[in-house]
Symmetry: C2
């Protein structure tokens, strides 16, 4: 394969690997948040916090050349997984 | 707010910020791949490459404690955005 294409794909692969490791770490942390909320009897959702996250990520996306709507799609994806993991944890307990 | 919850959320925010910057960079690179493929008249999809990506990310997810199915969902999300961006680019040209 041409080395230019090979190099671009290698960069994509490195980024994807970094993303997977960061996602793994993110869900380790949300598991701790879930434990904390359970212990302190806090509600699972915090709408004010969610709005702040959306606004911050959209701003950062705009500044870095990413479609802000895509940043929200990323956030939706991880939030749906957080909900799935919390539900699975509750079902287990 | 309790400092433990505050700290956990700060880590989540840092990870999300890193994700957005990495996603921005990933789409900068896929734009270059798109240009390369157009110049060399290569087909947009490469099924063998896609299978390799899936297998590698699932393996890495398993090793790092992330649900391998979620790694695939991440990949689907970015691939759908790559297709959307390529289609938008073609419509513009």
């Amino acid at each position: 394969m041409n080395s230019e294409l090979h190099n671009l794909r290698k960069s994509i692969d490195n980024i994807d690997s970094a993303m997977v490791l960061l996602l793994a770490e993110r869900f380790r942390i949300t598991a701790q948040v879930g434990e904390y909320k359970k212990l302190h009897q806090l509600p699972p959702a915090d709408l004010s916090r969610e709005a702040d996250q959306e606004s911050h990520l959209k701003q950062l996306a705009s500044e870095s050349g990413l479609d802000p709507e895509f940043a929200l799609k990323y956030l939706e994806l991880v939030r749906s997984e957080v909900k799935r993991l919390h539900a699975a944890l509750q079902a287990k307990n």
